[in-house]
């Protein structure tokens, strides 16, 4: 039987506010345990929450970024359950009236085509603390630094049909929130976490299968692998005559499998009710307009502009708009060198290769966009040829050239890489090479005319060598062809 996978994602994005969602404590990552937990975060008797306006603004920016409906009123609810790292015995969240309503996210697939994934809603909530099980001699330590950190939970419709689509969606969310600057998107530090709802159904069937929810998957790769495992498990189960039960599962990256945490029967009754300590959040249209005006260009718009205005391919436009840092780097490079295609080729080719090799993020690139732009400019204006440009790139990468924006020029100068375009000089070199290669000239002459094109490479190589790589290869080629053909 043919099976179809149905996937919905709940993505928890940690908002990049200075302080917590309901208290003035810092949200900075990595502090000593419990040094960023005040009376409110500890849930001491008598404390009250006060909503952080910045968290509201960020949630609304996200809503605008996915063209979502923004309700005039949203309400915080309490989700009640006991857990040691949940100080109040409830999590303040939004169950019934979330801050962001229905919206849409466009995802880009490998073949360059786009699909729209619907977002059901996004709501604000507070994060819990952390339970630490090591170093406490059989006891558990509680660190409440993270308790109260603002989260935006983005809940998709079950619109994805493959692990690849789910990853593409997650990447799209990642790029939207980082473009907006509302999250650092750092998955390793838990700034973006994801619950994956997976079910399978026979292809063509309308009704959804029973789903399993895989909790807390925290990398793009794990999302893909967890789904792959889960789909296989469910299909095997059904084909063996079994039934999928609604349950919560955990993905174990070490074993590369999902395991049951609790079934629906064991699920908590969270006893949601409106939090009486917080007033409903009223959002007026003037505030929305103000936020809308300050919205940056988002990935989908950028991608469209790169294609339409800069003439880039869908693929190039997609890659170059995938992150704000990448897009900004590319645009700066393009502005400096004045050629979008050259800039795109260099950023995706030489630069991305080097970044991958050294496992660096583009924001940590040793070559800045101005330097790369200046280098490309020298290729475009024929000061250097492509081969020399790669040498200059490597030298820049190694920190040569003094680090100024025009470092490329310094390297070109120091290494004498300036391209020789003086026809007389090239002419002389070409004559010399022909004179020094009688055997090759004879072969050339004896070959069929349509085979000669390939044979010319030898002569070009010799001339380039003689010029120490500085001759303009185009000119060399033309001259050689002229002179050799004259000998035939």
């Amino acid at each position: 039987m043919q099976w179809e996978t149905v996937i919905g994602l709940e993505v928890h994005v940690q908002l990049a506010t200075q302080s917590k969602i309901f208290s003035g404590s810092s949200t900075a990552f990595g502090a000593e345990p419990n040094t960023q937990a005040n009376a409110v975060d500890l849930g001491l008797p008598g404390v009250l929450p006060v909503l952080n306006e910045q968290a509201v603004a960020m949630a609304l920016q996200f809503g605008l970024g996915i063209n979502a409906e923004i309700p005039e009123v949203s309400v915080f609810d309490r989700k009640n359950y006991f857990y040691p790292d949940l100080p109040k015995g409830y999590q303040t969240s939004q169950m019934y009236e979330p801050i962001v309503g229905r919206g849409e996210v466009e995802i880009l697939l490998d073949d360059g085509s786009a699909r729209v994934i619907r977002v059901h809603h996004a709501h604000l909530e507070e994060d819990a603390g952390k339970s630490l099980h090591e170093d406490f001699h059989g006891m558990t330590g509680i660190d409440l630094n993270r308790a109260g950190t603002p989260l935006l939970e983005i809940v998709s419709e079950p619109d994805m049909r493959s692990a690849k689509e789910a990853v593409a969606y997650l990447r799209a969310i990642h790029s939207i929130v980082t473009y907006l600057g509302i999250s650092d998107g750092n998955m390793a530090e838990g700034s973006m976490r994801c619950d994956v709802n997976v079910s399978v159904r026979p292809k063509g069937q309308e009704e959804f299968g029973t789903r399993a929810e895989i909790k807390n998957v925290n990398s793009f790769r794990f999302v893909e692998r967890a789904i792959a495992y889960e789909v296989e498990r469910q299909v095997e189960l059904i084909e063996d005559g079994g039934k999928v039960v609604q349950e919560t599962r955990l993905y174990d990256p070490e074993a590369d499998e999902t395991r049951s945490m609790r079934t629906k029967e064991e699920a908590n009754d969270y006893r949601y009710f409106p939090c009486p300590d917080l007033l409903p959040v009223m959002v007026d249209s003037a505030y929305i307009d103000h936020l809308r005006e300050s919205l940056p260009e988002l990935p989908a718009e950028k991608r469209a502009r790169f294609q339409d205005e800069l003439g880039l391919s869908a693929y190039d436009a997609g890659v170059l708009s995938s992150s704000r840092a990448m897009a900004e780097y590319f645009e700066r490079t393009k502005d400096v060198c004045g050629d979008a295609k050259q800039a795109a080729n260099w950023v995706q080719g030489e630069l991305s290769g080097a970044l991958n090799r050294d496992a660096l993020d583009i924001s940590d690139s040793p070559i800045n966009a101005d330097q790369l732009g200046e280098l490309i400019k020298r290729v475009i204006d024929n000061t250097i040829n492509g081969k020399a440009a790669k040498q200059v790139f490597q030298a820049l990468w190694n920190g040569e050239g003094g680090g100024e924006n025009n470092s490329a020029d310094a390297i070109i100068e120091a290494r004498g890489l300036k391209q020789v375009t003086d026809t007389g000089a090239i002419d002389a070199m070409v004559e010399q090479v022909i004179a020094d290669s009688p055997a090759q000239v004879a072969q050339y002459r004896d070959a069929e005319p349509d085979k000669r094109g390939k044979m010319i490479g030898y002569f070009v190589g010799q001339v380039m060598k003689a010029s120490r790589g500085t001759a303009n290869p185009q000119q060399v080629n033309t001259l050689l062809k002229e002179k050799l053909d004259a000998l035939c």
Binding site: A39, P45, P49, N80, P84, I142, D277
Partner: protein, 486 residues
């Protein structure tokens, strides 16, 4: 000075006839001698009180005294006080030393008042007799065999017995007004949002409100001046200008329109209470007020609605007492669940457990709509009843409680206890202010008249109550125990 009002004490302090230290020492002595019988204090902070009194005297010497500088008072043990045990009447918080001051506590401190300590109360403010305290019941100073009312029973008894001229209380369903009535003092529950709840241990967040308990309406006004106002740390506190609540006290009542809710004079009202209340109404008529009957048609739903909403909020508010970070923790827990179960089973008393169970049930899946949502709808109707009534009349009047103070140990059935709040509870659901003033006696035991106004009508209520106190002397009566120990 033990039987004087704040107004009189402030005058004596200003005139230099007594210092705050002398007064504080005198009252601490009374607490020492008398509170063994009354049990109105959980914690007496003598040392801090004397140093605060010295500081107040110093401020006065420097010419920096305000209207409350050097005035002693007490604070219900539901308000967090930095460095001082804040038990909320519970074993659960018997070991809890608050690391911060509630907003009203710091406001009172800033106003120069001198706190003598923390008063007894029903555990987590759940009760109408003060019999639900981990620290034992409080006795009514008028009759030591009677309850003082609750939950702010310690505050009411301490003021009535002349241990302090005033005290802070809290009122979720009548917890200021009913004990004020039982102990023959004046107690004001402000409009919800008028006084910050920050640092006030939560029972039912949408109903809880702190307020003053004192010997006169004028004193309540002075205290409200100090504690009212918006607090950035309490989102439910209202950003509205705080008037001078003493300014309108002397306005004449001629033309005042008084409504008597039919439902507040029905079955279950003790005849001696009714007759005292009817007499009090006559006083107002003699002051030029007109009286008419009005109806609050949804009154009978107030107690059921309250006992859905308040326990629901309480069940969630009290989840933080889990033995993990503060408060009572059981010995040698075998695992996490054991830690939760035994810490909570040992730390909470029966009434608290009962309300947690009720609240947990009413919020459960499948019951939420039938209970919680329905109760919220009823709440809106009850609020509307009052708003409609205030279209017709300026204030409403009636008894604060259906009976005078009852005997200690007499009311064992929780539902009969809940019915004690039949005239006070709807006020919290509606969010309006109410004041209870002494209006006579039923035998040895005082009777309280309740006066209700629309939202933020505190100045009007204080004015009406003050005028009554100018015309009567019920509020000047003192129990024997107070005079014996003079």
């Amino acid at each position: 000075m033990h039987d004087k009002t704040i107004t009189e004490i402030a005058g004596a302090l200003a005139a230099g006839t007594i210092s705050s230290r002398e007064l504080t020492q005198d009252l601490l002595g009374r607490i020492d001698r008398m509170d063994g019988q009354l049990n109105s204090f959980i914690t007496v902070t003598a040392e801090q009180a004397l140093s605060a009194a010295d500081h107040a005297d110093q401020q006065r010497a420097n010419g920096q005294a305000g209207p409350l500088t050097g005035v002693p008072l007490a604070i219900k043990d539901i308000f967090c006080t930095q460095g001082v045990k804040t038990s909320c009447g519970s074993k659960m918080l018997d070991n809890f030393i608050a690391p911060y001051d509630a907003t009203v506590v710091s406001k009172l401190r800033a106003a120069g008042t001198v706190s003598l300590g923390k008063t007894n109360m029903d555990e987590f403010a759940m009760g109408s007799s003060n019999e639900n305290s981990f620290y034992g019941p409080v006795k009514n100073p008028w009759d030591l065999t009677a309850v003082p009312g609750g939950s702010s029973g310690g505050s009411a008894a301490a003021v009535a017995a002349g241990l302090v001229p005033a005290a802070l209380g809290t009122d979720t369903g009548g917890s200021i007004r009913q004990p004020a009535a039982f102990c023959g003092i004046t107690g004001l529950k402000p409009t919800y949002g008028r006084v910050s709840r920050y640092g006030m241990v939560a029972y039912a967040s949408s109903l809880d409100q702190g307020g003053p308990m004192a010997r006169s309406a004028a004193d309540c006004g002075l205290l409200l001046n100090a504690i009212a106002g918006h607090d950035a740390r309490d989102s439910t506190s209202v950003a509205r200008v705080v008037p001078d609540y003493t300014e309108e006290l002397d306005a004449p009542l001629a033309g005042l329109k008084i409504g008597l809710p039919r439902e507040y004079f029905g079955d279950g009202l003790d005849p001696s209470v009714e007759s005292a209340i009817r007499d009090a109404i006559k006083v107002f008529e003699s002051l030029g007020a007109s009286v008419r009957e009005v109806s609050l048609p949804h009154t009978s739903y107030a107690i059921p609605a309250y006992y859905v909403i308040a326990p629901a909020e309480a069940s969630s508010n009290l989840s933080r007492y889990d033995g993990v970070r503060f408060g009572h923790r059981c010995d040698n827990p075998s695992d996490l669940i054991d830690l939760y179960k035994r810490s909570r089973a040992e730390g909470f008393g029966d009434e608290v457990k009962r309300r947690i169970l009720i609240g947990t049930h009413t919020l459960s899946e499948g019951f939420f709509d039938a209970y919680y949502k329905k109760a919220q709808q009823v709440r809106r109707l009850i609020r509307q009843d009052f708003l409609d009534a205030f279209e017709e009349v300026d204030v409403l009047m009636g008894p604060a409680a259906p009976t005078p103070a009852f005997d200690l140990g007499a009311t064992k059935d929780p539902v009969s206890m809940y019915l004690q709040d039949i005239y006070t509870i709807a006020i919290n659901l509606a969010g309006i202010p109410g004041i209870s003033v002494p209006a006579g006696f039923s035998g040895k035991r005082p009777v309280g008249l309740q006066i209700l106004g629309t939202h933020f009508a505190e100045a009007r209520l204080l004015n009406v109550a003050h005028q009554f106190q100018q015309a009567t002397d019920w509020h000047l009566r003192r129990p024997e125990i107070a005079e014996e120990n003079a």
